[in-house]
Amino acid sequence: MDALLLQFLNGLDKGSAYALIALGLTLIFGTLGVVNFAHGALFMIGAFCAVTLNRILTLSHEVIDETRTDFLGNPLKVDVPYVYDIFGEATGAAIIDWSVPLAILFAIPVMIGVGVAMERGLIRHFYKRPHADQILVTFGLAIVLQEIIKYYYGANPIPTPAPAAFTGSFDFGAMIGFEPNTIIYPYWRLVYFCFAAVIIGAVFAFLQFTTFGMVVRAGMADRETVGLLGIDIDRRFTIMFGMAAAVAGLAGVMYAPITSPNYHMGMDFLVLSFVVVVVGGMGSLPGAVLAGFLLGILESFASMREVLEIVPGLNQIIIYLVAIVILLTRPRGLMGRKGVMEE
């Protein structure tokens, strides 16, 4: 029982990452009708926003420490970040420590910029092209983006720790009456889950309660009619793309402490997030969120050793297996609309 609850909580957390990425992907698909294979790359760029801010904050000048030596036996050069000089060592260290949450502020404009540039520069010209072309050109873009990141940041993962205040875990099980140490939950994952919930809620609220959102929703339902009403839907779609990029990017920023960012994390997530979106039903926002959590939780259950003892290797294939079963029983995924992406 406690083991199941534990995996359920884990799944919620995994699922929130899937849901966030799938949400952005669906926003783009639903509004613009574009299948964006570069979405994983946006997630990756988001994570690298955290890395970049960390690098900026730790920009340093060298101070030679005569008392110690480096690996060649020369006097050790110690890097002293400029923020130490500006804010003093204690505040400076705190700022660096909090670089991941700070990166949210940094990432929002960057990601919106990247998203708008992508839409204006490339995606816009593909609205009327076949889906296959869209998939292919964005796939090419994804390769280019990740290679650029690799060129500047290398191939190895880059540690991007959460603030010290959030390391460690709390004993959730003990709070609800289980034995101590049965259900522990890391603080940062709780943060991530809440963060995801807030973002998902914000996106839904935005679409539900603002005029802008209403127009976009109408556009998702029937693009031509909205266009006929004389509403400049294109401009709104550009903004939507920026927003979707920001959602993906923020998901990436906050994910950085969980998985040290590397250049191919976007591709790692791409396939998975597409499976999530399709299982949810192309173009359905609630479907994307639902499928994200569902697959996250099922994946967690499948990784239990009790399960693996019965079905070895289930953890390797669970996501795909679920996708196949759902697609065969529900032709358009959990909440997909008819006629979307079936041609």
Partner: protein, 402 residues
């Protein structure tokens, strides 16, 4: 000739000549010259050109004709390879049972996957095929290790049973052969500074490719091929014309899977080793890239695309900064460094970047792939020769372009 019309016969003959003379054509630069780096006329790469050509031709039968975008085609290549290597371990190092078994097993696997996946269309179909391929990869890498060799894959070992072969000579290693003719054996010919290699394996693969190509042309021009294009064009009309689209697409899927199996079997015949990465989704993506890059739905496009990508993978990736410096050594020092710095990100380990950029450019500007590029150039030349004399050259053809 061969039951083909004049245009197709011409194409087949051109392709045949090109493949037979590939050892010359692909080695245009003399040995030891600075440009020799760009020579591609060595056995392994030539084999890969034709084998991946087969793979792409097969993929194009499905994608180019029916429009169904399979994102898991590498699984059939992988399954074919595993079947082939097991033939080599159990039966004989002769490549024929290996290749035949590769085709059969891949075809059966495609039948199962296709039967299930083709219940859906569009992106749902793509995701289903992707899911099957990813499952195959994940299982082959891990729990199926006893059958697949896992991460390290399978190679023929000295101690394998090989019931049809006689015992190996002391100290000999098992070598893939065709009735005693070893795949890796080559004849070399030196003409002046040039060296040309004629490799047995390459010619066997090339002949198989020509047969596969010929069959693909036949298929394209057959009633079946027309039906597949009808599936792509309008399934609704198809249904209301008394035709069941499903067996047509399934047949195309299985044929295409058998082509992949053939390619997989040949890969093993040329290079007796299989690893699970062959089935990873990026490998499936690669054949999509090849087909689109060359021109989906055209006959020769996929072969060109396969060649272009394999060339980049094998030639571009081997250029390192030292070689660049040698090339530009004639420039003044500062300029040399600048030029090398500018080019360096795109070659060697940056070859993926070049691939991505070229691919994007093709999709943006040449939706019909390299073939369309070729046609445009040809049209431009024709246009200069006889302005406007053949206005109806495009748009009214009854058959897909080659």
């Amino acid at each position: 000739m061969f039951g083909l019309n004049a245009k197709d016969t011409r194409l087949l003959i051109i392709v045949a000549i090109l493949t037979m003379l590939a050892p010359f054509i692909l080695n245009p630069f003399p040995e030891g010259s600075a440009m020799a780096q760009f020579n591609a006329g060595y056995p392994d790469l030539m084999q890969r050109f034709v084998i991946f050509g087969i793979f792409a031709i097969g993929f194009n039968i499905l994608f180019g004709l029916t429009g169904y975008l399979s994102f898991g085609h590498a699984a059939f290549l992988g399954v074919g390879s595993y079947a082939a290597i097991w033939m080599m371990k159990l039966l004989t190092m002769n490549v024929i049972p290996a290749i035949v078994m590769g085709v059969i097993v891949a075809g059966l696997f495609a039948l199962v996957v296709g039967y299930i996946s083709l219940r859906r269309s569009g992106i749902y179909f793509s995701i289903l095929t992707l899911a099957f391929a990813q499952m195959s990869f994940a299982l082959a890498y891990s729990v199926l290790t006893p059958i697949t060799g896992g991460e390290t894959g399978l190679q023929p070992k000295v101690l394998d049973p090989r019931i049809l072969d006689g015992p190996l000579a002391e100290g000999a290693t098992p070598k893939a052969n065709l009735f005693g003719l070893t795949m890796s054996s080559s004849y070399e010919m030196q003409v002046g500074g040039w060296l040309f290699t004629f490799n047995v394996g390459y010619y066997i693969a090339a002949i198989v490719m020509l047969v596969a190509f010929y069959l693909a042309i036949r298929l394209f021009r057959s009633p079946f091929g027309m039906m597949l294009r009808a599936v792509k064009s309008n399934q609704q009309r198809m249904n209301y014309t008394g035709l069941n689209a499903k067996p047509y697409t399934l047949a195309a899927f299985v044929i295409s899977g058998m082509y992949a199996g053939l390619a997989g079997g040949l890969l093993v015949a040329m290079d007796t080793q299989v690893g699970p990465e062959r089935m990873f989704w990026t490998a499936s993506g690669e054949v999509v890239l090849m087909t689109i890059l060359g021109g989906a739905g055209t006959l020769i496009g996929p072969v060109l695309g396969a060649g272009a990508i394999k060339y980049m993978e094998n030639i571009l990736s081997k250029i390192n900064s030292d070689i660049l410096h040698t090339w530009f050594a004639f420039l003044p020092d500062g300029l040399e460094d600048l030029v090398v710095t500018l080019i360096y990100p795109f070659i060697g380990k940056g070859w993926h970047l070049t691939l991505g950029i070229i691919f994007m450019l093709v999709v943006i500007f040449l939706p019909g792939g390299l073939v369309e590029g070729g046609q445009r150039i040809a049209a431009w030349f024709r246009g200069r020769k006889a302005k406007g004399s053949d206005k109806d050259a495009s748009g009214t053809t009854t058959e897909p372009a080659e």
